[in-house]
C-alpha cells in the first residue's frame, strides 16, 4: 500500500498505541478520585501536560486535552463569542477555513454575531491590509488557520499576531491542525491566545487533540460539569488519550527536528515530476507547507483517478476528506479564484515523514498511466 493521504489522517505510530493501551490497563482510575490510585492518574495527567507544554514552550495549565480539531475549533470560537459578547459581537475569519471553523461561525451568525470572511489571493493567502481593515470596535475574535488543508498555503500568522497584540480587546485563534509537526509556530508572546491541534494528523489517535488556551483567556465552556480542565472542558479526562497525544507530539517533534528538509526535497521532486505530466496543473503555491501538493487534471473527473489509483492500493484524495462528500467544486480553490475546470478536477497528495522516494515514484508512474488512459477514452 502507498498511503499519500496524510492530511486526511495518518497511521498511528505503534509506540502511541502501546502507551494508550498501557495507560488504559494500568491507570484507569479517575484523576479526580481522592484515593492513591486516583492520585497516580492525576500525576500522569499532569506529566502529560508538562511534556506537551515543554515541547510547545508554554505553561502546563495552558494545555487543554480535547477530542481533536473540530472540538478545539468549536471550543475556541464559540467559547470566546459567548464569554465576551458583551464586549462586541464581531468575528473575523477567512474564506478558506476548515468547516469546523466556518460552520461554527455560521452558527454564531444565527445567534446575532457578525462575521467577516476575508478573501484570499491566488496563492491562498489573506492580506495583512485586509485583516487590519476588517477590525472594528466590536471585534472580539480573529480566527485564521496556519496551514490550509487542501492547498498547503501558509498564512502570515506572525504578522496577524502582532496586529492582535496591538488590539488588546480581541482574541486570536489559530487552527494549526495541518501545520503541527510540519512547520514551527511560536505560541508564547506571539499574540496567539488560542491554538487548535489534532492527534490523528500527527500519527496519534483519533479522538485526541489539544487546545492551547493562554492563561489570561477566558472561555464559555461547551461542556458544563465537574470543572475538569480549568473548567473549560468538563468530563472525566481521557487519560490514555492525553498520554497518547503527548507521546505523538514528542515523536513528531523529533521527526521534524531530524528531518533536515528531506520532506521538502521529496515534495519538490513530486512537484517537478507532476509538472512534467501532460495535462497536470499545480495548484499549491510556492513557499507552501512541505507535505501538501494540490494539482488539477482539467477535463478529468478526480474521482475516477482516485479509484484507478485505489485499484493499485495507492491512496490520495480529492479536496479534503471533510468536504469531499458535498459538491464537486473545491470551495478553497474557488476562493483562490481559479478556473472552474481546475476547481472541479483537483487532487491532493499529502506526505508524511515516512513517505519514501520509491513510493512517490510509483505513484507518479501510476498517475501518468491513468491520465494517459483516461485521455484516450475521452478523446
Amino acid at each position: 500500500m502507498i498511503y499519500l493521504d496524510n492530511s486526511a489522517t495518518t497511521k498511528p505510530y505503534p509506540e502511541v498505541i502501546k502507551s494508550f493501551q498501557q495507560v488504559s490497563e494500568s491507570y484507569f482510575a479517575n484523576p479526580s478520585s481522592i484515593h492513591q490510585f486516583g492520585g497516580e492518574a492525576e500525576k500522569l495527567l499532569l506529566k502529560a501536560k508538562e511534556q506537551t507544554a515543554k515541547i510547545l514552550r508554554v505553561e502546563p495549565d495552558e494545555i487543554i486535552f480535547t477530542s481533536g480539531g473540530t472540538e478545539g475549533n468549536n471550543t475556541a470560537i464559540k467559547g470566546i463569542a459567548l464569554e465576551h459578547q458583551t464586549r462586541g459581537k464581531h468575528i473575523i475569519t477567512s474564506e478558506i477555513e476548515h468547516p469546523s471553523v466556518l460552520e461554527a461561525c455560521h452558527a454564531l451568525e444565527t445567534l446575532g454575531f457578525a462575521v467577516t470572511y476575508l478573501p484570499v489571493n491566488q496563492n491562498g493567502l489573506v492580506s495583512i491590509a485586509d485583516v487590519k481593515q476588517a477590525i472594528r470596535n466590536d471585534t472580539i475574535l480573529i480566527s485564521i488557520m496556519h496551514v490550509n488543508n487542501e492547498l498547503g498555503s501558509v498564512q502570515p500568522i506572525e504578522e496577524i499576531g502582532s496586529i492582535a497584540k496591538n488590539n488588546p480587546k480581541l482574541f486570536f485563534h489559530v487552527d494549526d491542525v495541518q501545520g503541527l509537526g510540519k512547520l514551527p509556530l511560536k505560541l508564547k508572546n506571539s499574540g496567539i491566545d488560542l491554538c487548535t491541534m489534532s492527534g490523528h494528523k500527527i500519527h496519534g489517535l483519533k479522538g485526541t487533540g489539544i487546545l492551547y488556551v493562554n492563561k489570561r483567556t477566558k472561555l464559555f465552556p461547551l461542556f458544563h460539569g465537574g470543572h475538569q480542565e480549568r473548567n473549560i472542558r468538563s468530563g472525566t479526562e481521557n487519560l490514555p488519550g492525553a498520554v497518547a497525544m503527548a507521546k505523538a507530539l514528542r515523536l513528531i517533534s523529533d521527526k521534524q527536528k531530524n528531518n533536515n528538509g528531506e520532506m521538502t526535497k521529496l515534495r519538490d521532486y513530486l512537484r517537478t515530476e507532476l509538472e512534467k505530466i501532460h495535462g497536470v496543473v499545480i495548484n499549491t503555491p510556492e513557499n507552501a507547507a512541505p507535505h501538501i501538493i494540490n494539482f488539477s487534471v482539467p477535463g478529468l473527473k478526480p474521482e475516477v483517478i482516485i479509484h484507478m489509483l485505489g485499484e493499485q492500493q495507492i491512496y490520495i484524495s480529492t479536496k479534503s476528506a471533510c468536504s469531499s462528500k458535498l459538491t464537486d467544486e473545491s470551495r478553497i480553490l474557488a476562493a483562490c479564484a481559479l478556473d472552474k475546470v481546475r476547481t472541479t478536477s483537483a487532487l491532493r497528495v499529502s506526505l508524511s515523514y515516512d513517505s519514501t522516494r520509491q513510493e512517490v515514484t510509483a505513484f507518479l508512474q501510476a498517475l501518468k498511466k491513468a491520465v494517459d488512459q483516461l485521455k484516450e477514452v475521452m478523446e
Partner: protein, 400 residues
C-alpha cells in the same frame, strides 16, 4: 537581522568587595544551569559584563528563564555588529522597531574605540536621523524617552541594546548559606522560601506528614511546591517527618487550648535537630504577624522559646493579599489551593489559645515524654531530593 545575545546586569553585587568574584561566578553558574535545556546557548563574562550568547536560539523563552534567576538586576537584548556605519544603523533600527510600547526614543552612542571615524555626538545624530527617516510612529525625546537605543562602539565590535527588561534582583542563590524552610502545603510557606532565596539563600524543606490523616497527595503537593522553588535555585531536599504519633499524643494528652502551641513547639524542636544534622544555620517560616492563632505575638513568644536558631520570617509584615500575589507570580498558588488535608488542618482545636503563656505550656509539656517522641520522629524522616526536572522522571518514562 536578529538579536544575538543578552546583556546581563547585576546591580547590588558590585558592592560586595572581595566576594564580588565569587558572587559573579555563582550567578554565571546559576544562569547556565537555568538554560541547560538550550545546549547551544552560552553564558560568558568579559570585562565586567555578562552575556548570554543565543547562537540562533529564539530569545523569548531564554529571557523568560533569565527573569527567574536571582541576582540579575536587569537584562537587555543586544545585537553585535562590525564597526561599520551602515550595519550599526540597521541594527539600531531593528532594536527600535522590535521594542514594544515605544513612542519616543533617544540614541546614546559611546565611542570607546577612538579609531572609529565618526565622533559620538555626530553618530547620535546620524543614527537618530536614520531611525526617524525609516519609521513614522516614533518621536525623539532626549529627556524622558520610552526607549534608549544604546550603541557602544568597542574595538572588537559594536553592541546595540534596546529595552531594559527588569530582572528579579536579589543575590545569586548559593551565596548566603542554607536555611530549613517549614513547608506546609499552604499559600504562605512557598512564598517565604522564595523570598529567602531572593537573598541568595539555598533551601532545604521540612514537611510534617500524618498518615492516614493526611494523604499521599498532600505529600505530593509539597513535593510539587518544592519543585516550583527549584526553578529559582538548585535541587531542594525535602525532609518528610512522620508526625502522626506526635500529633495523636498531643491531642490526646494535652489540654485542647494548648494543643496547637505545643504542636508548633514540637515542629520547631524537630526542625532544630534536623538543622544540626544537616549543618543548616537557620529556619524559615511563612508566618505573618496576627494572621492566625499561632502567629500572634504571644504565640510566637511561646513557640519560639524552644529554639535558639535564628528564625527567618520573610512574610512577617505582609498582608495576605500581597502574599497571594507573589504566590501567583511564582506559580505556587494553584498547587497550594489543592484541597487536601494537611497536618495543620486535621487536628484543629475548638478554640486555640491566642495568648498562650510560656509557663503553662512548659507545665503541660512536662507531662509528656518529649525526648522519646522527638527521637522517634527524627529517626523516621524520609528525605526526597527534588530537582527541577519533572518529579515523575522514571516513573512514567516508558509511556512518553
Amino acid at each position: 537581522m536578529e538579536f544575538d545575545h543578552i546583556l546581563i546586569r547585576y546591580g547590588e553585587m558590585a558592592l560586595k568587595g572581595k566576594n564580588r568574584k565569587k558572587f559573579i561566578v555563582k550567578l554565571q553558574e546559576n544562569i547556565q544551569r537555568k538554560l541547560a535545556d538550550f545546549p547551544d546557548v552560552k553564558v560568558t563574562r568579559t570585562q565586567g559584563r555578562m552575556f548570554v550568547l543565543l547562537n540562533g536560539e529564539d530569545p523569548v523563552p531564554i529571557v523568560a528563564k533569565c527573569k527567574e534567576v536571582f541576582g540579575i538586576h536587569s537584562l537587555s537584548l543586544a545585537i553585535k555588529v562590525e564597526n561599520d556605519e551602515t550595519k550599526i544603523k540597521d541594527a539600531a533600527l531593528y532594536a527600535l522597531t522590535t521594542s514594544e510600547n515605544v513612542k519616543t526614543f533617544k540614541v546614546s552612542v559611546k565611542r570607546i574605540d577612538k579609531n572609529f571615524p565618526i565622533h559620538s555626538q555626530e553618530m547620535n545624530q546620524v543614527i537618530g536621523t536614520h531611525l526617524l527617516v525609516n519609521t513614522t510612529r516614533y518621536k525623539v525625546d532626549v529627556h524622558n524617552p520610552d526607549l534608549e537605543v544604546k550603541v557602544e562602539i568597542r574595538t572588537e565590535a559594536t553592541y546595540i541594546t534596546a529595552s531594559i527588561i527588569p530582572g528579579l534582583g536579589g543575590l545569586p542563590v548559593g551565596t548566603s548559606g542554607k536555611t530549613l524552610l517549614m513547608l506546609s502545603g499552604g499559600i504562605d510557606s512557598p512564598v517565604a522560601g522564595f523570598l529567602a532565596m531572593k537573598r541568595g539563600v539555598e533551601i532545604e524543606a521540612i514537611h510534617f506528614h500524618s498518615p492516614p490523616f493526611t494523604s499521599e497527595r498532600a505529600k505530593q503537593k509539597v513535593l510539587d511546591l518544592a519543585r516550583k522553588l527549584t526553578e529559582y535555585g538548585n535541587t531542594v531536599k525535602v525532609h518528610i517527618v512522620p508526625f502522626t504519633k506526635v500529633q495523636q499524643s498531643i491531642f490526646r494528652e494535652m489540654p485542647d487550648g494548648y494543643a496547637m502551641t505545643i504542636m508548633r513547639r514540637m515542629m520547631f524542636r524537630i526542625s532544630e535537630i534536623l538543622c544540626e544534622k544537616e549543618h543548616i544555620l537557620s529556619i524559615t517560616t511563612g508566618e505573618s504577624l496576627g494572621q492566625v492563632a499561632s502567629q500572634t505575638m504571644e504565640s510566637m513568644n511561646a513557640i519560639n522559646e524552644v529554639t535558639t536558631m535564628p528564625i527567618l520570617r520573610p512574610l512577617i509584615a505582609m498582608d495576605k493579599n500581597d502574599i497571594i500575589k507573589v504566590s501567583r507570580t511564582i506559580h505556587t498558588y494553584d498547587i497550594s489551593i489543592r484541597p487536601y488535608e494537611d497536618c495543620c488542618t486535621i487536628f484543629v482545636p475548638k478554640s486555640p489559645k491566642t495568648r498562650p503563656g510560656r509557663e503553662k505550656v512548659n507545665y503541660f509539656e512536662g507531662q509528656m515524654n518529649i525526648t522519646e517522641m522527638l527521637e522517634e520522629a527524627v529517626r523516621g524522616i524520609e528525605t526526597v531530593k527534588v530537582t527541577n526536572k519533572s518529579d515523575t522522571v522514571g516513573e512514567f518514562d516508558d509511556l512518553f
